[in-house]
């Protein structure tokens, strides 16, 4: 990894953290509603995965703000979406859980756990069919590896040798349920072993995630067939803003926070790339400014018009069935 890329990854992680903190603040102030799932603690994973998987399609879940921004979607359009505004990336109709931007090959917002996995299989088939071999990546949580569609997808993707990267973000919990209470083992890659190559990476280490995703993408692009990569992470906040998170002990949370991916990356910048504290500070300030601008933009952005209720139900002529 060159210095520029390392800086970029660090910058995006800080941007992601500050963005999430601002989202939290504005949720509590009532500017954002619905379910808000924060990615704090997992920025290294989210950013490095997006940076590494440069080309190709990305499918992911409701915990996707940081990925969306790192994928290149304007933070202002993401924040405006959280605010439900007309300038949001889904024009206010999707909200935090549904950030879609096909121009960035980003389908970041399925809120049906595991629901995006078979979609990614289909997309990988289509891309291969059409001769586009960039590959597809599908991101999902540990909680999504017990549903039928997940196993069906492993089977289908490996039978057809599809260029698909299954990227599992294993933070150990599905809402308040520890994965080991509802699965026979801690690492879910085991479920994919009979079907495809599996790999594991420390999801709190951005550099390692970057390398692992790059390697996996090369494999799927080279016709190797699907790969399963599991990243072990932990989230600092509750599942969503509605979850007080009482099921985790203080000690457990401390252990989690001690692995902070941003501090870790900062150390890499210092030690490997010899960035000074001032240079790092400059990156932070730049990120803070972008977040402040995003909030300002979202606050000032207009609400969607009421007529919008009926637009885009169908491709053309959108029949107003109810008038």
């Amino acid at each position: 990894m060159n210095k520029l890329l390392a800086e970029e990854i660090y910058y995006d992680m800080v941007l992601g953290r500050l963005f999430e903190l601002a989202a939290k603040e504005h949720y509590m102030a009532g500017d954002i509603a619905g379910f808000l799932h924060l990615d704090i603690g997992q920025e290294g994973f989210s950013v490095a995965a997006m940076k590494a998987f440069e080309k190709g399609d990305v499918f992911t879940t409701y915990r996707e703000h940081v990925m969306a921004i790192s994928r290149g979607i304007d933070p202002q359009a993401v924040m405006a979406e959280l605010f439900g505004k007309a300038s949001g990336i889904s024009r206010g109709r999707g909200g935090s859980m549904h950030l879609f931007d096909p121009s960035h090959f980003f389908y970041g917002g399925d809120a049906i756990v595991g629901g995006q996995i078979p979609n990614a299989v289909g997309c990988a088939y289509a891309r291969k069919f059409l001769g586009q071999e960039d590959g597809v990546m599908v991101v999902f949580g540990d909680g999504a590896t017990s549903g039928g569609a997940f196993f069906e997808s492993l089977n289908n993707a490996s039978t057809k040798k599809l260029p698909l990267l299954f990227l599992c973000e294993n933070n150990g919990y599905a809402i308040g349920t520890k994965i080991t209470r509802v699965a026979p083992f801690e690492k879910q890659a085991k479920k994919a072993e009979p079907y495809m190559l599996t790999m594991e990476v420390d999801g709190m280490d951005a550099v390692a995630v970057y390398k692992a995703v790059k390697e996996a993408q090369h494999l799927i692009q080279d016709g190797h067939g699907p790969v399963f990569l599991e990243a072990m992470t932990c989230r600092y906040e509750g599942h969503s803003m509605s979850d007080p998170g009482n099921y985790r002990s203080k000690e457990e949370l401390e252990i989690c926070k001690a692995k902070d991916p941003i501090e870790r990356m900062e150390k890499v910048l210092h030690e490997t790339y010899l960035l000074s504290s001032e240079q790092i500070d400059t990156l932070r300030q730049r990120a803070q400014k972008v977040v402040d601008d995003a909030v300002e933009f979202a606050t000032a952005a207009p609400e969607p018009e009421l007529e919008e209720l009926y637009t885009e139900v169908f491709c053309k002529g959108c029949a107003n069935v109810v008038s």
């Binding site: 909200g95 859980m97 809402i175 308040g176 349920t177 009421l306 209720l309 109810v322």
Partner: protein, 325 residues
């Protein structure tokens, strides 16, 4: 007592009287349920009877069917109606049909419960209503709990009954307050007359009952007429008797529902009125429903997609004008 406490009390008491009652679902045990309906139960009944499942709705209901066949009384919780879609095969092909297909040799004493409807900006994949689909399945009983008293009595009845019952709750009712009447006799199949009146019958269920009640004073003021408000409670079977006597008295019927209008549940009630009560009607029936669009996130659009007290008032007043009421 709160609605969610009434549901908790019903499950608790059913578990106490019958030790074959088990509860299964996502986060129902240690976490106490995402709407806190099963809070405290794991401490009382243990992990064998409060089963935390993985996120696999098809298996939650499928396992419940097998548990019922194997001698237990399962209560399956699905976190939200939209996730119940993943279990529709088990609900419709298995839960609803085993008894009939086996000529009554198999009984499935089980309940599938879930909340539905528009809450606050949960967007398209977390806001829908499926009473229309489930009430259209022969072999299922469908209850919809619109108030605290019904929530308690009907859920307890459902758990201890030998039939497969779908028990629908509403996302916005969990903190609703009310009394549980322990003295009066209770029939979960009977519709509830929320308010008596003599000029207009308004039929509704779940949270829309509250919205109708919020609209009624203004409607009555503007029309100078009185409204009778009925909470259907049991969506299948339907208490036509209560509807019939109300309709005979008022000569009119309005159905208010939150769901999308196309193919809605309310259409069934209107169809019954047209087919069976035609000569008692003095006005064209009216159906007030949600818009035929996926539910949007933005609050204004979200509210525009479903009936609200204001839009209910407006539509009923304009309908009354057109129909000489």
């Amino acid at each position: 007592m709160l609605y969610r406490e009434a549901l908790n009390k019903a499950i608790d008491e059913a578990m106490a009287v019958d030790e074959t009652v088990v509860v299964l679902g996502e986060d129902v045990g240690l976490y106490g349920g995402s709407y806190r309906v099963t809070e405290g139960l794991i401490a009382r009944y243990g992990e064998k009877r409060l089963i935390d499942t993985p996120i696999a709705e098809l298996s939650i209901v499928g396992n419940a069917v097998g548990m019922a066949m194997g001698g237990l009384r399962p209560v399956a919780e699905i976190m939200t109606a939209n996730f119940a879609l993943l279990a529709f095969d088990q609900i419709i092909n298995h839960m609803a049909k085993y008894r009939y297909m086996s000529a009554g040799k198999i009984t499935l004493p089980m309940v599938v419960r879930f909340p539905q409807g528009v809450s606050r900006q949960l967007a398209a994949q977390h806001s829908e209503s499926y009473e229309q689909m489930l009430s259209a399945v022969p072999g299922l009983i469908v209850f919809a709990a619109g108030d605290v008293n019904y929530a308690y009595h009907a859920l307890k009845y459902a758990i201890l009954s030998d039939d497969p019952i779908v028990f629908i709750e509403h996302e916005l009712l969990y903190n609703k307050k009310g009394e549980v009447d322990l003295n009066a006799e209770f029939d979960p199949f009977k519709a509830r007359i929320v308010k008596e009146g003599k000029d207009v019958t308004i039929v509704s269920y779940l949270k829309m009952v509250d919205d109708v009640m919020a609209a009624v004073p203004e409607i009555e003021k503007q029309l100078g007429k009185s409204c009778e408000v009925i909470d259907l409670c049991s969506l299948n079977p339907i208490d036509f008797k209560t509807l019939e006597s109300s309709l005979k008295k008022t000569g009119s019927i309005v159905v208010v529902e939150e769901d999308h209008k196309m193919g809605s549940y309310g259409a069934q009630i209107i169809s019954w009125a047209a087919e069976e009560m035609f000569y008692s009607l003095d006005a064209a029936p009216l159906r007030i429903s949600g818009a035929d669009v996926p539910i949007p996130y933005n609050r204004r659009l979200e509210l525009a997609s479903i009936p609200t007290p204001d839009s209910i008032t407006e539509q009923i007043v304009s309908w009354a004008g057109n129909n000489g009421i």
